[in-house]
Assembly symmetry: C2
């Protein structure tokens, strides 16, 4: 696990935010614009490779693929390949492979969490029940490896098969820490490092592998992706307790209802008084949740600084991510990736 070096990185962040964005809010738009034609080819390949004579497969896969994800992970692969000066066409298929791994884990996650909504739409399990998403997840996962095998790089296969194992380990570890307010911050960080940051790291790293860049650049991109992934997940976990999100009509409180022990809860629990700890034990450990409990949880997280602390940590990881790009030359690719890292912590969705 990388620990952010605040001193080193606050400079890079300032350079990133002030120098590049000149006061405006960081955004994914520059990266989307830069990669729009390549991203279009990735989307076409995804649709093409999720086909099967078994009609339910493209139907169900299409439901989640069309569900309006940000395509952040494939954009990292495309963007990092370009940052490394890659000029070939392999990054399209590998970006699609990365998105297939992500989509397979989403399908399985939603079954495991019994989630009914994702990005404001019914989940696949809400529409088709649990059985098809488990099996279609397996299919997409296999398809991902078929894409990588067709690409033919054993190094890429090594990075992404390793990432897939680590993701599964992270998901199991998350199950084991659920409903346990004694979860340590280290255990929480190990979960998000594995379930989220590992794929961000792998998706970024393979950009340097494709471009046959030196080990130093591979490691820099791994560090970029990994820290960005941690920042991204911290903000995800924070937004789940955001009263502002709630006012916007967005779905919140899913982690609370599932008894997931995320950083906002850990902070509120650690800083809470006896009565507050009893509240968390009842709602998270005993899963005894009543009307008004979510509002109370949001209130306690906010009041005890859980939102501010989580956001501050996320910004620190994002700064480390941006700092990792310092060895690459300045240009539209680097600026767009820096902007994407800034977006990870300043986004409202």
């Amino acid at each position: 696990m990388d620990t952010p070096n605040r001193q080193e990185n606050s400079g890079a962040l300032v350079a990133g935010v002030d120098g590049v964005h000149a006061g405006r809010k960081p955004s994914l738009d520059p990266l989307c614009r830069l990669l729009s034609s390549e991203l279009e080819r990735v989307n076409q390949l995804i649709v093409q490779r999720m086909q099967s004579p078994v009609a339910l497969i493209p139907e169900l896969a299409g439901h989640i693929v069309a569900g309006g994800g940000k395509r952040l992970r494939p954009m990292l692969t495309l963007g990092c390949a370009r940052l490394c000066g890659y000029r070939g066409g392999r990054h399209i298929a590998l970006a699609a492979a990365v998105e297939f791994i992500h989509t397979a884990t989403l399908l399985h996650d939603d079954v495991v969490d019994a989630s009914n909504l994702r990005r404001g739409r019914d989940t696949a399990n809400a529409v088709w029940g649990n059985k098809p998403p488990i099996l279609v997840g397996d299919f997409l996962f296999s398809r991902s490896f078929e894409l990588m095998v067709a690409d033919g790089s054993l190094r890429v296969l090594e990075i992404l098969s390793r990432a897939s194992s680590v993701i599964a380990e992270g998901e199991v570890l998350q199950l084991m820490t659920a409903n346990d307010t004694r979860t340590s911050e280290a255990a929480y960080l190990a979960v998000i490092q594995a379930k989220t940051a590992e794929l961000f790291a792998a998706a970024s790293r393979i950009g340097a592998v494709m471009a046959e860049r030196p080990q130093e650049e591979e490691e820099a991109l791994d560090r970029f992706g990994r820290n960005l992934g941690i920042a991204f997940q911290l903000v995800d976990d924070m937004l789940d307790f955001s009263s502002h999100q709630s006012e916007l009509g967005k779905s919140i409180g899913n982690d609370f209802r599932d008894g997931k022990v995320t950083l906002p809860v850990l902070v509120a629990f650690a800083r809470g008084d006896k009565g507050e700890r009893a509240f968390w034990r009842r709602t998270i450990e005993e899963q005894d949740q009543r009307a008004g409990d979510l509002q109370q949880a949001i209130h306690l997280v906010e009041q005890r600084g859980g939102i501010a602390e989580t956001l501050s940590r996320a910004r620190s990881y994002a700064a480390t991510a941006i700092g990792a790009l310092s060895i690459f030359r300045d240009g539209s690719e680097r600026r767009a990736l820096i902007d994407a890292a800034g977006f990870a912590t300043e986004r409202g969705f």
Copy 2:
């Protein structure tokens, strides 16, 4: 799909059964004896590679791995490699990779089927609920690819990633044909071809790939494994309606309870009278099952020749499998593989 050529293959079967086994019942024992030290190394590698710092993973994986499977698929990889004269050590890791794919699909299958018993023991989902087996299945699947990547053969990766996709397609197709007595025999055969025979074919084929044998031998081993896999699944489906199994105290009737439309049911339905078809529609399509229905189903399957017909087809596929081995030289490996193919149809478990 290969169709068995009865004329061509009955000769081979007679040669196999009469010439080699001299009247005794075919058995897996010769293959087990021949491969015992290699199989021991496969088992050690499986235990070693299912380890993880996340304790639940080896615990749950150990439960199913130790659950007394026949290790048929890894034995095919080991046996076919030896048949092709392979003398290296790569077959150990690839046999373990094949078994990991199989184990991952078993974990997911048991969740999808809500099965409580496998091989007389509690299933992982019966012990831990549905969530851990979904995620540990994903872990084992990833580990399988890590083993293949470490082996380094893109051709093997291509064969096994393709097989994994086809297995998932077969499982989804099986879901779509469940509870539907209008399922055609062709659709049923497509399901078992995909969900079972594809991995048997791949496990066998990679023996020739490792030994760098010509395309003709690769294809012969694919044909051997594929037809053996179909025979094996036909017998599995037959045993689920076997009153003899029931007398032995073995678990039967799982497919019936799940509403799976297998060949014994298709035969009994096709040959049944109006009342019998109404019985199948009520129990399989409407899933309205009452006390005594399983006994009635077993009776109808037996009476209408569903057992005999399924076994006869299975023997025909097994004969085709044995015939495919004719291009290889006679020897202990070929005799043991022929015996294993005979065992597939004459087994009682």
